[in-house]
Amino acid sequence: MAVAAITPDYTGERLDRVENFHGNIVVYVGWDRHLMFCSPIAFATPPDTTFGKLQDEMIAGAYAQHPDFAKIDWEQVCWLLNGEPFTPDREATLAAQGVDHKSIIRMQTPGLEGIGGSHS
């Protein structure tokens, strides 16, 4: 039983199915241990967005205000996709490397400890 309902075999409308996003998918990006940005970010972007564009334009636009952002050594960044280690291909599209609708991309920047070392 997927819900307690008075109607037999009740199913709910999937409000966030990918078809509702006008050709975009939702992708979440979080920067671990940098909580000045209170929560991960929700982006809506076409599935054929390249990872390079996500990194250089969308992520940079979002996090540029953080004093650690300019210090990121992008070679050293560890990425996670839906909790699993992930090696992104900058030239390939999100869809081609398994980043699907409502996926979570996390970036870890070892050595950068946030504001005053507080992980902010």
């Binding site: 997927a2 008075i6 009740y10 979440y28 940005f37 636009g61 979570i104 507080s118």
Partner: protein
Amino acid sequence: MAARKLNLKERYSLLTRDLDWEYSYRDKKEIFPYEDFEGIKITDWSKWEDPFRLTMDAYWKYQAEKEKKLYAIFDAFAQNNGQQNVTDARYINAIKVFLTGVSPLEYQAYSGYAHVGRQFSGVGARTACQMQSIDELRHVQTQVHAMSHYNKFFDGFQDFSHMHDRVWYLSVPKSFFDDARSAGPFEFMVAISFSFEYVLTNLLFVPFMSGAAYNGDMATVTFGFSAQSDEARHMTLGLEVIKFLLEQHPDNVPIVQRWIDKWFWRGTRLLAIVAMMMDYMLPNRVMSWKEAWEVYFEEAGGALFKDLARYGIEMPKYAATAIAEKDHISHQTWSTFYNYGHAAAFHTWMPDEKEMDWLSEKYPDTFDKYYRPRFEHWREKEQAGERFYNPTLPMLCNTCQIPMGFTEMDDPSLIAYRQSVYQGERYNFCSDGCKDIFDHEPEKYVQSWLPVHQIYQGNCGGADIEKVLSEYYRINMGKDNLDFHGSPDEARWNAWHNLESAEERLKKAG
């Protein structure tokens, strides 16, 4: 023939139990179609003990007297320009949160109790719910009346019911009650009467009402007092429901336990906003959120669950997580609203030095380590004329709908991420509690109206965020939102009290 005067007991029974009748030509299941589908077994409704012996005529008389007193005080408050006598205009923002976030829940409660007050086949339960329904309608009315006075002098009050239905952070309380009201009648009672009114309500009302008292807001204190005797009745109803369900049939125990687990968790998530109100929005602090939580949940709730153990009921499943969160939740929630202060219909600000010291003292294990450096950075930015606003839209939890700003309790600088895949689609959550709720009833929560996703789907007036905020949410941009410093609220307050703004003081000093 002179009518014989009835004694109290007779009147009570005539005006409650005797309102029922035998159903002779319709099947009971047709008359009460909602009573079975949740799996709750009721073997004997006559075992229901009316939690309060109150007849309708006594009820009307008593409530009318309270109303008279209440409105006399509202009048006096208005005539004496009570709005000028609160501690500080920042305080008013707590009241904006209350009017947009909490008062509409009173209305939802009115509607929910009216529904279950029709659906139970036991007449005692029906009558109790109908009375509570009328109480709740009274609560929303008196709250709106009390706060309408502030609407004349401060921004952010004008469209509270419209905002409740649309604004991103108000989807948190709204969806909480939508969830309860769209559940079956027994779950509704365990959710609202027991888990919320009995277990958690003191954490909502005591902070707001004593916060009001500490900050010179007599209008709010008065409606609080006027609701208090109603709340006492609501709490006894909550306890009676639980005892009745548990005594009726052993098969009810696991169902009730699951509802308690769910609604305790949903309730603690909802209370995050009260936590930030207590620690950040009251110029005169009552006690810290952490202290309130210890008194009203850990002590009082602990005793209650010890008492319920004889029925086989245990502490709510994620109580340990909620207890650990008492050191973090207010700071994380205030951070979220500070991030998105441009998108809120109330003002945010950074605590001043004295207030930071108070937070350090109340939260010795966490504030200096995790939060103070962040807040000092934000304060420096503000002083440099670059007040920090987060330029993005946040990821939300699919269950509680709060931005994903809560962290792991064993590693408090790491956001807690949880994910489920249901029928090929990903769903994301802020906590084990929220994930469990989804996993148990996915067909309900696939329907979550998540404000950020709705914006991206184009359902909130298009892709221009300014327009979403100003036209779809009806936030008066530049007035209702942004930092308290520099707001028209602050300017008016300073003019009433002949105070200089922070900016003017800086200019003179420089």
